[in-house]
Symmetry: C2
């Protein structure tokens, strides 16, 4: 009986993270949330995904504590979806995906959207993995210590 494999109890944080946000829509919904989108219909129009899928993804994101349902800003009868702190902490992941995409998924002359900082209107700096002292770290200079089992 093939049901979806889960890594909920994995000891590797990467596996658990992929389990929560590793699908084709969740991170795009979060990206839109960072762009200020908060309403069901706005997500739906902007992403162009089916309403039933959006509904199920929003429910999962709320269940995982990445989004929360809040009363509409203008006080109407409708509600909105807002990022929690856990959701805002996905910012680094989105930036890393963005930078990798910029570097490897566009032709040289091909236009793409850019992430700027509000104050200077300049692109965000390239993310770097560094050691405890702040020195740049090559993937070959790092290793995963597994937890004793």
């Amino acid at each position: 009986m093939p049901q979806r494999v889960t890594h909920e109890t994995a000891q590797c944080p990467v596996a658990r993270a992929v389990d929560v946000i590793g699908d084709r829509w969740s991170l795009l919904i979060v990206r839109d949330a960072f762009d200020g989108i908060r309403r069901f219909n706005d997500f739906q129009r902007n992403l162009g995904l089916a309403k039933n899928i959006l509904s199920s993804r929003l429910r999962e994101l709320v269940t995982h504590g990445i989004l929360e349902i809040v009363p509409a800003a203008e006080g109407g009868a409708y509600h909105e979806y807002a990022l929690t702190q856990k959701g805002r902490d996905l910012f680094v992941i989105l930036v890393s995906l963005r930078q990798w995409g910029e570097d490897h998924l566009f032709e040289d002359a091909e236009p793409h959207s850019v992430l700027l900082d509000t104050k200077n209107n300049k692109p965000v700096r390239k993310l770097e993995v560094t050691d405890a002292k702040g020195r740049l770290l090559d993937p070959s200079e790092a290793f995963v210590r597994k937890v004793a089992s």
Copy 2:
């Protein structure tokens, strides 16, 4: 006729990146590749996924230029899968997923694997999004400039 939605031609690098590596297995295969795994059976045993799925994911990763097929290190008849530069550049993404997972998907006392730098045996530093001058940037201080359409 519902076939998978694609973001191959999106102008947002996040969308294109999610299109390529946004599924439940690709990033875990890449993670294992960083851990030194190179052979089909080793991936399969380590990840515990069905062989047909592994086969199709490896093929996709090779097609996207993230892995490449190389002759076996010991010179046998078999071949191996090795990360390309494009694949090694996924390191930051894996680290960002790992750090978010560590922060939000484990109980305080729950053990998890840790990424250490080889030289000092100390955990890698927390990734930070900074502006062009290296100043820490809050998500609220950044915005996406869309490309003219």
